[in-house]
Symmetry: C2
Subunit: 144 residues, 2 copies
Amino acid sequence: MDEFMQAAIDEARQGRQEGGIPIGSVLVRDGKLVSRGRNKRVQEGNAIKHGEMDALMNAGRQRTYRDTVLYTTLMPCFMCAGTIVQFKIPKVIVGEARTFGESKAFLESHGVEVEILDLDECVKMMESFIEEEPELWNEDIMEL
Amino acid sequence: MDEFMQAAIDEARQGRQEGGIPIGSVLVRDGKLVSRGRNKRVQEGNAIKHGEMDALMNAGRQRTYRDTVLYTTLMPCFMCAGTIVQFKIPKVIVGEARTFGESKAFLESHGVEVEILDLDECVKMMESFIEEEPELWNEDIMEL
């Protein structure tokens, strides 16, 4: 397993242990971690704290993101995809896009490279969560 | 002046007084304020705290946004536009779109109604800021 995707998965698992939604993300530059994050909707009562947003918040003010790669365990939603486009992050590496995700075409139309690893570990993590907490999941993707 | 746009402008002006970027936003439901926010990149060293994102963060966990309207002093960037689409906010009322903004077509293609008030007060507020702090503005829109 790629060490950065492993770090994103570790974040996701930590979030689930905290009672939250198991989605994690890390920002990488020059083969080094810049920041890490996880979905904190439950933990902080914060609707904008998706994993990708938390990682970007934890990165503070960066002069540029053009030399970064964002890893995320799940295909980004439109909030996170719009952020990737706005921040001009050139590449996103995604754990899986089977359980969620409709933003690939939007990202690619704005020149973002999207690599989907399609990892069983990520799929199983989300499938278990969605089965256990369907209402929370639907709240997070605004499908209530 | 619409009271909600006035509240968004008040947030923007407060942000500028704090040394920050003068963009404000409020979330409204049933003719009442749900939350208010302003860009806090400078104040909190937080790159994702655009005005709209701050207002949505301050709204906490809402069961739905389908019955809300988001007011913002400036046309949303793609981060904020993607968030509006993801959150299924049906309408955005914008102070001005002259100094910034390329997300209108994206919003409308996802069924979001965009009303641009084109207020001189909002244009002047942004023009003054951009003239005073061009580097900070370019950092905020990731044009460095």
